[in-house]
Symmetry: C2
Subunit: 218 residues, 2 copies
DNA sequence: GTCAATATTTTTGTATACAAGAATGATGGT
DNA sequence: ACCATCATTCTTGTATACAAAAATATTGAC
């Protein structure tokens, strides 16, 4: 299953945007990049269109592709939507979740607990992701699931660093527990609001993180 | 502001998929279509990729582009998500909506009423759309707004016919009124659940429409 | 006649070539 | 010196050409 060059290039460009090689507003020169990747402009253009879809790049007619990092306002908006989507997943999952999924959820949660005790943010991060993805799936709505996963991925680079904040992992854990309990009780509204709060707080943390960075830079 | 050919072609292909010229599963031959549109394969391929992004077409490696109409199950899922997104817009808008927007909403609603009395589904449809789009915007979250508009558009062809169902316009009107009242009171939860119900019922109507079509075909 | 292996034809993916619009620099007038 | 207009250059958008993979047809063995 040989991958298309366009896909490989899209991934690599995505990485370079996230790691800061390309900053916000930079123009992505087709010819330059094509040479750099050792391909022609054709697959490179396809890659750019793909990035435009995920919102990382803005394609302007007859002018080219520009890196488009979401600003603080848009990020807050995205976090808000993420919180609401997770809340919806939770509300639906509370009514539809299977017993085995509840077991898996409990397992993921326990591994989270272990990661907290080991003070291992990376382990926590991956188990946390598993926890949330189970809930997306158990919403019983695969369209919702894919849309939620998509936004989750888009926010990933902005959320990861937050776990390093003092006390965040412990707090996150306790939120997980109340989410799990609500799902076990089948309490749709409780699950929804617990998840909403759990994610919304990330947006707020992000916000304060941003402003500290801002003021530190002055 | 000369449009790109790829965009024009994408629109036209989209139309042909909706109007049934291309059925589910059909392979879209690049060469044939390119000749038909009088362009080369390059812009046509770009158009196909665009359609793939909106989910109308599935691109399979080294095999081509295939029309991919959502089946009944996926449609129900999409309507469910639409209902939840509108509910979220409503919940946020209840807290954030401006007075002038409330006036505009009321105006749109009155025009809806007039359309009901004139038994004019087309007029109702367009005013109804205005009504909903005001709410999306007044959520105060432009990311949410664009995402919601996007899904709205994707469901448009499946929703339009429903207004012809007996009594649907009248019922829809009364739902509008309770939505408007909830927003005027600033009652977030009432607005959310009113909108959720208002949209969810479209999914259900669609479902029954589908099953009657199914049984009629047997 | 059926199946398998190979040859041929299509068709996709990529490279290159060309056309048209935008950005940039030069020229000339005031 | 400054601004407007025009020419040049650069870049995007499109067409054509080529390569590689898949689909199809053909041939031959059993």
């Amino acid at each position: 299953m040989e991958k298309r060059r366009a896909d490989i290039i899209a991934e690599q460009l995505e990485e370079r945007i996230f790691d800061g090689t390309f900053a916000d507003g930079d123009r992505l020169d087709e010819a330059r990049l094509a040479e750099q990747f050792g391909v022609s402009r054709t697959p490179l253009r396809e890659a750019l269109q793909r990035l435009a879809r995920s919102g990382l790049v803005e394609l302007i007619q007859r002018r080219g592709a520009f890196v488009r990092q979401p600003g603080p306002v848009e990020l807050l908006e995205m976090f808000e939507v993420m919180a609401e989507l997770e809340a919806v997943c939770g509300r639906l999952a509370a009514k539809r979740i299977s017993d085995t999924a509840l077991v898996h959820l409990d397992e993921a949660n326990q591994k989270c607990q272990a990661a907290v005790e080991a003070r291992d943010p990376d382990a926590y991060y991956s188990e946390n992701e598993r926890f949330h993805k189970i809930i997306y799936k158990e919403s019983g709505n695969s369209f919702l699931e894919t849309e939620t996963v998509l936004l989750h991925r888009r926010l990933q680079p902005f959320r990861r660093q937050q776990l390093r904040l003092r006390g965040r992992m412990v707090q996150s854990m306790s939120e997980h527990t109340s989410i799990l309990e609500a799902l076990e009780r089948g309490d749709a509204e409780a699950a929804a609001s617990a998840l909403r709060g759990h994610v919304a707080i990330q947006g707020e943390k992000f916000h304060s993180l941003m402003s500290t960075l801002k003021s530190a830079a002055e």
